[in-house]
């Protein structure tokens, strides 16, 4: 049971236990960025449309601007910071984004990577249509999505066909 304007929360962030005292009105994305210094989750729209703040919450992608920080209590959270290896080597998905030029300005990329990773976890060989549906909650203003779709196809070991 949890109650009050200030909330004590404990949760797992990228495998580490975090304890904090947060305001009940604070959004999760603001807590991650401003209090914990994780700049992977981006704020693109503040209205829940762009997906730049996408993180994984208890195994599923969510928009961290559409949740409260206090709702992280007891949860397991992963951000894009956990995607690369400890020495900085890119994950296969990240490497494919680089190879296929799946980004330009890079602002949508953390959220895009989280959504693409979630998609591949559930569906290791998605069709083009399934890829496009999988990243439907993430807006990109640079690439026109084509190179992002190519990057996901390449990661899944499929022919790059768009």
């Amino acid at each position: 049971m949890s109650s009050g304007y200030q909330q004590d929360i404990t949760f797992t962030l990228n495998g580490e236990t975090v304890t904090a005292d947060v305001a009940a009105r604070q959004l999760l994305v603001h807590f991650l960025r401003d209090d914990l210094g994780l700049r992977g989750p981006k704020i693109g729209c503040d209205t829940g449309h762009c997906g730049a703040c996408t993180i994984v919450y208890n195994g599923k992608t969510i928009k961290s601007c559409m949740m409260l920080a206090t709702q992280a209590d007891d949860a397991e959270i992963e951000t894009v910071e956990a995607m690369a290896g400890e020495s900085g080597e890119l994950s296969p998905l990240q490497e494919s984004f680089r190879q296929e030029h799946g980004l330009q300005c890079g602002y949508c990329t953390p959220g895009m990577l989280m959504s693409a990773s979630f998609l591949l976890e559930r569906n290791p060989t998605p069709t083009e249509q399934e890829i496009r549906e999988g990243i439907e909650g993430n807006l990109c203003r640079c690439t026109g999505y084509v190179n992002i779709v190519r990057a996901v196809q390449a990661t899944s070991g499929q022919e790059v066909s768009v």
Binding site: M1, G48, G51, M66, M67, S115
Partner: protein
């Protein structure tokens, strides 16, 4: 901070949630938050206390009953509906609608009950609930009660529950051989939407229910239903029977679509929904 100061409470039961709502006149239920958090960001509503029901296991299950009906907990997410073996077996069309609601992140967080209670005209489940004659189960300070879907939606962003009542589950009655059609025109979230529940045999429609969404209150189209009953299952016949689907409705004008356009599209989505239910071509 985008949000105004607000208190937050995560109860361990529906009963505790109801008690908190009774004790706090400015209390509101927070479920998946995919609408309410936006409202709080805009400071479009004054809320003193958020009562977070999103983790209450007692409202988070889907149960298929022997009579063919399905009871869906109000706290079940769209993604959980989309992947529920019970729902996919009993009402695959409903699971499919859930699987295509908004986007993956919203589906992972947004709840069936929240979608219904919020009754945003663009929400997809209110017209479905009315078309299926769903029963809404709520718990409040005076105990449990049931509300028919036809009585549940009372206007834009409004429902029949009292502020201290919590929607706990929704029963979707057995289809008994009827098929569901669900069609929308995607401009913004949706400019027009129709749900049809149809039974047919030997090339003839025997029973049809047609409900329009994207309105303050989902609108059952009884004249269309009467015209469909006994009609042939052909596109021409269905098009004629559904041609008056938009008569008398008064949709909202907004930046996505004008009222006139939405009204004009009512017969289009109604026709397509009936044809989909019949397993036929839309055009």
């Amino acid at each position: 901070m985008l949000l105004a100061a607000v208190d937050y409470y995560r109860p361990d039961s529906v009963a505790e949630a109801v008690t908190a709502l009774v004790d706090n006149p400015g209390g509101r239920v927070l479920a998946g938050g995919q609408s309410l958090i936006s409202i709080l960001k805009l400071r479009a509503a004054t809320v003193d206390l958020l009562v977070d029901v999103s983790r209450l296991e007692e409202i988070r299950s889907i149960t298929a009953l022997d009579d063919g009906s399905v009871r869906i907990g109000a706290g079940v997410t769209y993604d959980e509906m989309a992947h529920s073996p019970e729902l996919m077996a009993a009402m695959p069309a409903v699971a499919s609608i859930a699987a295509h609601t908004v986007d993956p992140q919203v589906r992972n967080r947004g709840t069936f009950g929240g979608n219904l209670c919020h009754n945003d005209p663009i929400n997809n489940f209110p017209p479905l609930a009315v078309a299926l004659d769903a029963t809404m189960h709520a718990t409040g300070p005076d105990g449990d009660r049931e509300v028919d879907a036809a009585e549940f939606f009372t206007g834009y962003f409004s429902n029949a529950l009292d502020r201290a009542e919590v929607l706990t589950s929704v029963t979707l009655p057995a289809l008994n051989g009827r098929e569901i059609g669900y069609q929308e025109i995607e401009i913004g979230e949706a400019a027009a939407r129709a749900v049809a529940v149809v039974a047919a045999g030997n090339g003839t429609i025997t029973e049809a229910r047609v409900v329009l969404g994207c309105l303050a209150i989902p609108a059952r189209r009884q004249a269309v239903e009467e015209a469909l009953a006994g009609a042939a299952t052909t596109l021409d016949s269905v098009a004629e029977a559904t041609s008056g689907a938009g008569d008398g409705i008064d949709p909202l004008s907004d930046p996505d679509a004008s009222s006139e356009y939405r009204q004009a599209m009512a017969s289009v989505v109604a026709k397509r929904a009936v044809m989909e239910a019949l397993g036929g071509q839309h055009e």
